[in-house]
Amino acid sequence: MIWFYYILAILLVIISLYHFIVARNYVKRLIALNILGSGVFLFFITTAKNTNTESPDPVPHALVLTGIVVAVSATAIAVSLILHLNKEEE
């Protein structure tokens, strides 16, 4: 099942990369970035499962936790900036 998840992670990364480049709308870009992030996290977590030890490797889990919190922080800033921009345009 590991390989299925690896391929899923790669697919998520590339479709969201494509849509990030193509999208002209800030909201769509933000969503694309978040999905790209999820793809990268999936890659990490799948790697954690890909060990000989009984329970999965906890290091990627901790790294992904950090990554998610950082991604949410960046999203919060982006949302605030976009709202600000819309207000200026009104």
Binding site: T47, N50, V70, I77, A78, H84, L85, E88
Partner: protein, 479 residues
Amino acid sequence: MISFDLGYLIVLPLLASIFSLISPIRVYIALAFSLLSFLLSVYSFLYTLRDNTPLYQWIGGWTPPLGIGLRLDGLSGFFLLMIGIVSLFVALYSISFFNVEYKRQGRFFWFFFFFLWAGLNAFFLSEDLFNLYVALEVLSLTAVILVALPGYKKAIKASLNYLFLSILASMFYLLGIAMLYANYGVLSMSLLSQKLSDTQEFIYALFPITIALAIKSALLPFHFWLPPAHSSTVAPASALLSSLVIKPPAYLMLRLWMEVLPKDKSLEYLSIVLSIMGALAIFIGSYYAIRQKTIKRLLAYSTVAQMGYLFIMVPLYYHGEILKEAVLQAFALQVFSHALAKASMFLSSGNAIYVAKRDELSYMPGFAHSHPFTFFALFFSGATLIGLPLSAGFVAKFLFLELSIKLGFFLHGGIMLLGSLLASLYVYPIWKECFSSHPTKFYDKPIPQLMEISAFLLGFLAFSSGMITGFLLEGIARG
């Protein structure tokens, strides 16, 4: 006796950022902590001069691969000194700057200023790839907020574009780390360099990492975010962004190429591609800088060009194994001279805008007559950017030229000399305007002394440090 700990370099600025936000005597706290952090930076620099071996500190006592390592060697000590100098003078400048302009932003500025300092120290000390990711994220989020700080539409738009690209780059970098971790199972650079030898899988991971670092350091196809971001914010923030924030990715690139990656044929091709991009960045950045009519955009494009030098050197990183110390010295001095000079120029441009209320070059007052300090700041820093003799920029380019001749990269040396010529073409208009002999009535408006002096001192240091490079680079030379 309290023993020296690398953690102080990170914790002190972090605590300073909290105190500067919650305390009413913001400016005094900022001043005190800036001085303290500066002294720490100087101490760590002197430490690298005194000690021959690099100082490794395992945080929590956990050695890699389990824990995170901090490393203080000649190169990182030198960069800590650079961060300390630039940040201290920008802090002095900002005390005065936010007193006369942008008072609302001044309330928050110190929080981000110290965060930036902590992030930079963390980045240059770290030797763990994931830790570098978090430090990079601290840097880029701070930078994004600093760009948006003035709050007008142009700045917000620039900052938003910057944020999107920077998140994309971070995700690519993280993907690269995930790929490396899947193959080698370590995150520490020193362990990775042992595991990488005689393998080839790292090439796949190097691809996203290189793209990420190229985006973050505004290498040519990805340079478009930089000019709006660096030119639309307030002067101290521009100075910090253009002189310091842009450097860490290039530094990481150097570390990877010189210390981690093994010799591989495909790396040679990649190094050629990167050096072509660097050369194009020099030409195109300089071309756009020459065409600019406003001083801040000119300086921002000049940053694109100057970053090109760091990437045109990539084949030297690859081939320069035997001359490793010399390569590190050339790199370090180029970064150092550009950081000091560019910070001084942006601070001076802040002075000019403060006087003229416009940022077109043609509105720049005849500073040589009215504000000699600002003029000399622009003169010295401009001379360093061009690389006039005696300046630090000159020594950096000299070292680089010597290296390229020794290793047989004559074309690279030639392009660099051409870049110097182009730099003089875009610095010259600034000097010319300073001597313009038609000062109208508002041109003799006094600039707060602290703003003038800190900009001048930075420029002067950038120029005069060319004369003490032997002392500055001693730590790196000993390896």
